[in-house]
Symmetry: C2
Subunit: 420 residues, 2 copies
């Protein structure tokens, strides 16, 4: 079978499975996830030996140790995947939820019912545990899922999918509700992206190159996660101790992730006092500071920030610092350079807090809390399938609810329409 | 200025205006809409004389009388547009609404805030009143709008936009929040559709050709309205009198619109009794019947339906009729041939009603009511910007709420994250 027919066969099977899984009750879905967790743990050695093949190829290809590290599945990682499955079981099933019911003058009762999206395709790189995260969220939310992982993790992804698919099928789910693209041919992605008749949503997870390829080639709607160029703005009315704690946490607690801050904006009225106390503490934690001209006047031993710095997602122990004259300038800076991901303000001023919340156009806006909270787990959604930096359908962390959609439903008692 | 620069200039201005209008309070927006209504009425003669130019060109070009009719603006139509503006004023402003607020174990309060989408581009054909409908909904929901109407209505659209834009600007809205593409160059659409940096959403309204062009060329997310191939399924447990009233209303009350039914599915147990009573009544109302083989056995004087008929949106006094053996077959027929628009069941059986509601994958599913109710006005949304047959972001009639999106907001009191 050539690639085109291989892909068409998969997407057609997924479409049929999507109709079936949409009707499966919560208990059956939960049971399938629990059985998968048990089976994964039972077959830890088999998973690790398949993973070892990927590692061997990776080492041969000269992948960086960080890459190898992300690829590796040890016993703890299997345990972690099993626990994700158990966590998803505890989350409420969004399918079937009826909301916004109103009675109209005609007598009809109109509201919305939450339903699965249908067929979701996840295109991802590296970490094989995404296979389990993504599949479990799609299944619990009543969707069929097509997985396309990175070629470097192909053996790991295949064994994980094979186990999950087999267990789910035995537990009463349609056998094609979880499928993996088992070829590493790069053209498979382009073939998938034109199947808008059979795939309802594509979620790319990975580097910018992958996301760009998907966006540029997809006829299927895409929800993507571009940069996390996150900002913290310290207002003139900030509690400076709080602002220090939040800045240090948001920059240093885990600098390599998307919800860490990259730029600190500081109101000029309190900049001198605040930065003289904060900058040494950041340096102690090995943070490199790149400041605007006014910041350089406070501390001449830091680097000068260039225009480019304001756009950068360092994902590293580097922080750009800019002094602004008012909250409007802070908001304008975020609008110009930000990536609509996550931004925070520290202030005691009510009007400033509300203004920042309303006017900063990001998927998550926080007052007096670290940007690091912008996360499905911290928001109570269990694990997340990604963080959307798009504006339509879903913004911010995407959990089970974001993998569903709503349709209108009407309860009538024989009404016919009389108005034209 | 060449076309490319002309379009870029417009979309950049729209982006700036979108930041400004997002912050404008409800009273100012409402006042601008009311002033527009007054001004439209005041300048009725001017509007009609601009419209007369379009009509003259249309007649010269040999447009059908139906087309000319749709193009025409008389005093009653101006009054109608003014009333749409006044109706939009009465609708609640969705911007700023905070929902789903929960307190997390960390102490942060997480919820969602409703915000405008940003820049919305409406690409439409023929009826110039869409200009006012679309612009008023976009403005009220805090968005900047770019209008691209059909070339046959260019003078009408220009005068309407010019009046509205001028009044809104005087009333305190950003002057670029309503812009029209004033060239009729067809390439303008393609130039617009690649401006994904400046346009957040494209809504095409018009024939299939237009929608196809938009979908195929757009880098901007599109919410579209394809066919309305709507079904009515009459269950074995239906109240047959009710089922007759609903079928007649859904087919004949206004056959040319998308929420009229095209196919009637009838359970075999009651088909004989039901169709023997219904078909003569439909024929009296000049409905042409195209039946399946079993329907032909009940009434040999009707036409035989071909496979093609099940796919067709007649938008005319034609009805395809099929007898099915059970509700599963009815649902399967709708899944195969339907267009995910609007489908209804008539039944007194609770389990059948719930099954149909849950399993029919359309933007609107009704029990014991005419499909003709699938409409923004009937659902209490005021006028609508369209009916989405897509699954993501918005399904079914789209009103003000559907022209907004939600971001996460967090109220903290200095929380920092400790878990990795």
């Amino acid at each position: 079978m050539d690639l085109k027919h291989y892909i068409i066969d998969i997407v057609k099977k997924a479409r049929v499975a999507s109709f079936e899984i949409a009707r499966i009750d919560t208990a059956t879905k939960n049971n399938a996830l629990i059985e998968t967790a048990i089976e994964l743990e039972k077959r830890t050695q088999e998973i690790m030996s398949e993973n070892a093949k990927d590692i061997a190829v990776g080492v041969e290809k000269g992948l960086s140790s960080a890459m190898i590290d992300r690829l590796k599945i040890d016993e703890a990682m299997v345990k972690k995947m099993a626990n994700v499955l158990r966590e998803v079981v505890t989350l409420p099933d969004p399918v079937g939820e009826i909301t916004d019911m109103i009675v109209r003058p005609s007598g009809i009762k109109v509201g919305k019912m939450r339903v699965p999206i249908g067929v979701i395709c996840i295109i991802y790189e590296s970490r094989p545990n995404v296979t389990i995260d993504a599949a479990s969220l799609c299944i619990k939310s009543g969707n069929a899922v097509i997985l396309r992982g990175g070629s470097e993790a192909i053996n790991s992804n295949k064994i994980l999918t094979s186990i999950m698919s087999q267990v789910c099928s035995q537990a009463g789910l349609p056998s094609d509700c979880i499928q993996i693209i088992s070829t590493t041919d790069r053209n498979a992605i382009k073939e998938l992206l034109i199947q808008d008749k059979y795939i309802d949503l594509v979620i790319p997870r990975g580097g910018k190159g992958l996301i760009k390829t998907v966006v540029e080639n997809s006829k299927v709607p895409v929800i993507k996660h571009y940069d996390g160029n996150c900002h913290l703005y310290v207002d003139k009315d900030a509690n400076l101790k709080m602002a220090e704690d939040v800045a240090i946490n948001a920059k240093t607690q885990r600098p390599g992730v998307c919800n860490a801050i990259e730029t600190l904006l500081v109101h000029s009225d309190i900049a001198d006092k605040y930065l003289r106390s904060l900058l040494p503490k950041l340096k102690e934690k090995s943070v490199e500071i790149r400041g605007c001209e006014r910041t350089l006047k406070i501390d001449s031993k830091i680097f000068a920030a260039t225009e480019d710095d304001w756009y950068k997602e360092y994902l590293d122990l580097i922080l750009a610092v800019k002094i602004v004259d008012n909250i409007e300038d802070a908001i304008a800076h975020i609008a110009k350079y930000g990536s609509n991901h996550t931004d925070a303000i520290v202030t005691e001023n009510y009007t400033s807090a509300m203004k920042f919340l309303q006017e900063v156009n990001s998927s998550c806006v926080l007052v007096n809390a670290s940007t690091r909270f912008s996360d499905g787990g911290e928001f109570g959604m269990g694990c997340e399938i990604g963080i959307s930096t798009d504006k339509l359908h879903a913004r911010g962390p995407m959990g089970l609810k974001e993998l569903t959609t709503q349709k209108f439903i009407v309860f009538g008692s024989g009404q016919i329409r009389t108005s034209k």
